[in-house]
Symmetry: C2
Subunit: 211 residues, 2 copies
């Protein structure tokens, strides 16, 4: 198997999801920086050679490209089973995937700054839009995490899972970018704080510029 190549950028929250998994599983890989701020990910070259959807992350393995971060996480779990990021029982795996999907479909796409910018040119209206969708998702997430991890450190008890890979960048966005009041979400914050202590999480922090 060839060494995987990750197409990523340091401020991309969906890249961070995958970078946590790669670091956790200690998978050696190369990185190709794709600048999403200057729209390099929408360039004809990137879209024709890597990902027709014009997005990162994308993972190239043996000449094939996998796009979409949750699909990449599942692939890594299947091909690199060491330090698993999914529990063993089907029902437990389902609950972890439910958390991933709640964030990946119910929050992330709607709080995306480009989507908010399409909604309105006014800063205040954009922020109101973003806050609405993050809060709507976090209210549900807080309840779900109180059942999947009543006394646990992470999203599903004390083992790191793909749900944690997806949670971290979303909470980071809420706090650092949108200054969201996290008081109503003590469980989410407690898990986030535990996760931010881990080396595999810190590595992909948006402050660490990729080169």
């Amino acid at each position: 198997m060839s060494r995987p190549i990750l197409y990523a950028f340091h401020v991309s929250s969906c890249s961070w999801r995958v970078r946590i998994a790669l670091a956790h599983k200690k998978i050696e890989h190369d990185i190709r920086v794709v600048n999403i701020v200057n729209r390099e990910s929408r360039s004809p070259e990137y879209m024709s050679k890597v990902n027709p959807a014009g997005q990162i992350p994308a993972l190239e393995v043996n000449g094939n490209v996998i796009a979409e971060s949750l699909a990449i996480l599942e692939y890594l779990e299947e091909v690199y089973p060491q330090k698993p990021l999914l529990p063993k029982e089907a029902i437990e795996r389902a609950k972890v995937r439910e958390i991933c999907e709640l964030i990946a479909t119910g929050i992330q796409p709607l709080q995306n700054p480009k989507v908010a910018a399409r909604h309105s040119t006014e800063t205040e209206k954009r922020l109101e839009w973003t806050e609405y969708y993050i809060n709507r998702g976090f209210i549900a997430l807080e309840k779900i995490l109180n059942t999947t991890s009543a006394n646990g450190k992470y999203c599903y008890g004390d083992s790191l899972t793909t749900a944690d890979c997806v949670l971290v960048p979303q909470v980071f966005n809420a706090i650092a970018r949108f200054k969201l009041d996290m008081t109503p979400y003590p469980k989410i914050m407690s898990i986030y704080n535990s996760l931010m202590k881990l080396e595999e999480v810190k590595l992909g922090h948006p402050d660490n510029k990729l080169s």
Copy 2:
């Protein structure tokens, strides 16, 4: 194992995804109708007993509830391996999941009528919003399907996969609800037309009221 209970509604596109899989795998189940039009899915009872996110579908198995349609599809695939909806090889499974996720994160949440209604009270602006996001996703999808299924009937060659479960309701929405011009998407349309001939797909059609 107890008989699964699916919480669903006939006009819910995400319920349709799961209903295709249940029908394809011939999994006996019960249905509980949750009316999303009159906001039954947002009732305190449903949100406290079934899904804190206030959404359908949800699948109850042995007293546990799994929410989020892709998580349910993965669960069904693991627990009911008959008539598989994912290919055998990891890279092929990844490509199928990539298609699922492209639609489930990149199109469906953004074209949701409630999101469009939050964007604007004007019908024309809502439609413009919806069309923008469906077209953006379909442009990428058309290219991807031309590689994953250059000569195939369905999204990944000639075998039904979870990608088909997710494609059908999205194309149906585009055509029936939003009257989108599908001329630029011959591959998507050819796959959709093949799929709409299947009994397991027709069963969950929004015209077939659940009771």
